[in-house]
Subunit: 290 residues, 4 copies
Amino acid sequence: MAHVAFIGLGVMGGPMAGHLVRAGHEVTVFNRTTEKADAWVAEFGHRRELTPAAASESADLVMMCVGNDNDVREVALGPEGVLSTMKDGAVLVDHTTASASVARELSDAATAASIGFVDAPVSGGQAGAEAGILTVMCGADDRSSFEAARPIIASYARECRLLGPSGAGQTTKMVNQICIAGLLQGLSEGIAFAQRAGLDVDEVVAVIGKGAAASWQMENRAATMAAREFDFGFAVEWMRKDLAICLTEADRLGARLPVTALVNQFYQDVLGAGGKRWDTSSLITRLDDR
Amino acid sequence: MAHVAFIGLGVMGGPMAGHLVRAGHEVTVFNRTTEKADAWVAEFGHRRELTPAAASESADLVMMCVGNDNDVREVALGPEGVLSTMKDGAVLVDHTTASASVARELSDAATAASIGFVDAPVSGGQAGAEAGILTVMCGADDRSSFEAARPIIASYARECRLLGPSGAGQTTKMVNQICIAGLLQGLSEGIAFAQRAGLDVDEVVAVIGKGAAASWQMENRAATMAAREFDFGFAVEWMRKDLAICLTEADRLGARLPVTALVNQFYQDVLGAGGKRWDTSSLITRLDDR
Amino acid sequence: MAHVAFIGLGVMGGPMAGHLVRAGHEVTVFNRTTEKADAWVAEFGHRRELTPAAASESADLVMMCVGNDNDVREVALGPEGVLSTMKDGAVLVDHTTASASVARELSDAATAASIGFVDAPVSGGQAGAEAGILTVMCGADDRSSFEAARPIIASYARECRLLGPSGAGQTTKMVNQICIAGLLQGLSEGIAFAQRAGLDVDEVVAVIGKGAAASWQMENRAATMAAREFDFGFAVEWMRKDLAICLTEADRLGARLPVTALVNQFYQDVLGAGGKRWDTSSLITRLDDR
Amino acid sequence: MAHVAFIGLGVMGGPMAGHLVRAGHEVTVFNRTTEKADAWVAEFGHRRELTPAAASESADLVMMCVGNDNDVREVALGPEGVLSTMKDGAVLVDHTTASASVARELSDAATAASIGFVDAPVSGGQAGAEAGILTVMCGADDRSSFEAARPIIASYARECRLLGPSGAGQTTKMVNQICIAGLLQGLSEGIAFAQRAGLDVDEVVAVIGKGAAASWQMENRAATMAAREFDFGFAVEWMRKDLAICLTEADRLGARLPVTALVNQFYQDVLGAGGKRWDTSSLITRLDDR
Ligand SMILES: NC(=O)C1=CN([C@@H]2O[C@H](COP(=O)(O)OP(=O)(O)OC[C@H]3O[C@@H](n4cnc5c(N)ncnc54)[C@H](OP(=O)(O)O)[C@@H]3O)[C@@H](O)[C@H]2O)C=CC1
Ligand SMILES: NC(=O)C1=CN([C@@H]2O[C@H](COP(=O)(O)OP(=O)(O)OC[C@H]3O[C@@H](n4cnc5c(N)ncnc54)[C@H](OP(=O)(O)O)[C@@H]3O)[C@@H](O)[C@H]2O)C=CC1
Ligand SMILES: NC(=O)C1=CN([C@@H]2O[C@H](COP(=O)(O)OP(=O)(O)OC[C@H]3O[C@@H](n4cnc5c(N)ncnc54)[C@H](OP(=O)(O)O)[C@@H]3O)[C@@H](O)[C@H]2O)C=CC1
């Protein structure tokens, strides 16, 4: 069993850290808002510390799942950050959805301190975190860091794969979000059109839902989209953060994302209608009459 | 066993009519280009006639699968069209992907002649037609026409469903094409981005291909898209015809199809690069450097 | 002085025909709704007839300004259409904004009847028609027809130019509308952004309105756009008709109109908000929060 | 006469500083690449210093015209930055096209040091800088700083206006760029369409160039666009920098820029075709067949 630190007990991190306990690891946690850490300890036992640095001191592995690039820099590189105390040969795993640049930056800083680094954003959402069946997309500059992290990550993942050097986990997650953006807009246009045409969306999906138009989103979201229900799922504000990361990386790579860029603007319409916390499938609302 | 006429022995209609024979029906065919009708008769036996009218004379059911609205009007309503000879109580089934307006126009004309009408566009492509596992989306103003056609259609369909009054089959097919347009553009952007980021597309699909970004297109087309292979599948020129139908119907319905309209223009880029016969997934080519 | 027939006394045609009278021509008019023809005769004198054919019988020139392609076909080619009575060597001028195809169709029909044809859509709006300062974009298969029409057109035009064979007037008008679509969307985004940024739009226009962002629309519409006033100008429903013509012609030509196609969909949002009769600059309304 | 420092003698800054000399001011310059500073002194006389700090020491006004946000921070706030030496009551004017955030950041830093600040991006391009007829869009938290800067700016500006608090100059410049993006795409689509339709672009512009489609870009760029000449003007890479600033600010403001975002992606196509230094009107090239 390993000694693992977990930094960031939010919607995703909290249950992930819980699965580490269930798998028998020794877990030390940190959360900025102390109450969350206390609640976690009340549920799962083990220990919490008051800084990322303190939580990571004797850890073999440190997992982080915070908000964005700046948060990652703060908890990793800041004066009380995990790299200030992690021991030689330990491995830092970042589950935050962040930029590929910050992944490379952290990998370099970690390497300089003889620490391994894996960027490891996840998909599967809150339900996947709670059920311990996340998909984890990894990048690492040396395979041994990935191999060290993999059995620990297995506590909460159904699928965990190394896709390339550091940053590759993040760029893979970006591919995921890019595919979703166009797909959801197409699905929104299809469903809104169907409704104006007087069709029953359930019937339509029953007939087209196995063929060339089929998608996870159609299978899992068409009914709620047709009912304009969005009080669940992956929030528009998270999607916006992720798409901003995609668009910046695309600029760096010379990639074109015309529809992703457009859908990102369409999400601003959703925000303007109060949809910050709505599921990403709420794109369909902008196709309704005012 | 029924007496069935089949009008239009193209890529789709030819094998569909063949399945009617296999199912034991008495089949009379018509094809504008006589050679194709002769070849079909050489393979499947039965009879061909020289006009749609002659082929339909004593048929219980007449199936058509021609090109576009004008073709449909010609073979159904023209001087030698099927409606000029079809008997009372027979049913006309149109498998062409056409407009909802032409479906309603035909339904009215058929009804006035005491003939049933079902608009019944299909999906599943050439492979689906050959294997007899098409999906058939039906609209009909009276359910009895649909019920009469259903067992015959079963000869070449895996799924056949009535979705509403006449035109509803066509609008359902439109929903299918609309969903595909946005989805394929998102997938194209995702794959082209992945390649610029130095990722292995097979690996990426292996890891994201079951989650929220998953789609039939990702499962079946990502590898060929990554290899820029398009010499198969559903041709861009057919897709353009279908999207034009969708956009016209959307205008009528007051539906908005911003990304569908944009992707329709992007397909013009593909045409300009010589892609008339390429599979619809060739959208990705426009994201490459010139 | 010439004998001129004018078919279609709408918002544009009425004042245009009036200018023909002022210029001293002998004018016979036809309008489908007889009351409008009576009102016109009450104001300008001269004669009205009850069919296009009757109005055109002895005319040297016949001008038409009706609604769309179908209307053009009806008044020109229908059983009571102008071509049924026009005399040899007379010239038919179509001021309707219509397709290039209908222009070529009419030119062929006219030529077969030894009649000249000029497609001659206009810009300048109601104000331009009333002031007699329209811009007229002409296409003609023979220059002599244009030369015959030019001095008559001069009665209500500031600018009248032959741009190519028949259809060229219409395609030039399309270029005009295409340019406007992208321009107005850019201007809308700019002004809505300025307002959210707390800027005074008048001041912004005062400073940027002479440089690289300058346009007729900025000069003439920025203030009303900032005030969300649209009760004047060129109506959204006309613009939609024109853009549909542009998009169809682009398909024929292999031209790409990505932003034009997108803006056309955005206008559907405006229609959905009740903007059928609003000025085209009402595109800005869709950038507001709901 | 004032003592003025000028930081950044690039394409824009060099001629601007020259006009200060012509207007009789005492000018001290700094340029990172010393050769450019030497060449400037050889042409205009006066003095150069080796750091921004040294150049600004006794200046009444300090003008900067560097590249982007980071450059602005470096020359203003860095250890050798101008704020480290500027005297009480002096005014700092930033002519760089940068973000509104950096303007507010600088304004706060300057105010804390009892120095005035004006963000003052320009338009008019290299030609405008050389002729001394730029348009200058200003933001300032106190009007007196603007009033102090205005007569000096007059040396190279035709128009100089205060548009609001600090950042307002930058947001006004953003409005300018946003308007241009949509406008140029519309113009590109119009011209490319015209050419495919066989029209003569000069003739088309002659007839539509005064009406509702008219723009500075049409008047000044249509001919070169038609000829696909782009070896002059405002470079695509600058436009991309500016649009990135606009898109970030729009996110902050909740503004939607759908077409601006799309055109920004289209410029990536132009970059991929080698167009980094081409004039922004090169958007039209992506509408050609490959
Ligand atoms: N929610 C989802 O469905 C999915 C989320 N993700 C990604 O996972 C990450 C976490 O998401 P989620 O758990 O939903 O977010 P939450 O907002 O629920 O949790 C964020 C966590 O990060 C901590 N944190 C944020 N900033 C800092 C900081 N500067 N210093 C210290 N701690 C900080 C928060 O602490 P505090 O409690 O003090 O605020 C909290 O513990 C994000 O990158 C998100 O994009 C990925 C897939 C799905
Ligand atoms: N191919 C595909 O993957 C799919 C196609 N479809 C739809 O099915 C329909 C048929 O497609 P497909 O079979 O591929 O097309 P083909 O071009 O292979 O066949 C078209 C058939 O229609 C006939 N036809 C066309 N116009 C006329 C006319 N005016 N009068 C008489 N006969 C006419 C043709 O006759 P002739 O032999 O003389 O040319 C031919 O038999 C289309 O609407 C298409 O959109 C739907 C799903 C998938
Ligand atoms: N060019 C144009 O048509 C227009 C440009 N602008 C804007 O004006 C600004 C300047 O443009 P332009 O003059 O064309 O650009 P140039 O590249 O010609 O000049 C940039 C200047 O900034 C200096 N510089 C850049 N970064 C730094 C740094 N970190 N430290 C010190 N000096 C630095 C450069 O020094 P060095 O010589 O050492 O590289 C050079 O003097 C930009 O913000 C641009 O967007 C606005 C309107 C029109």
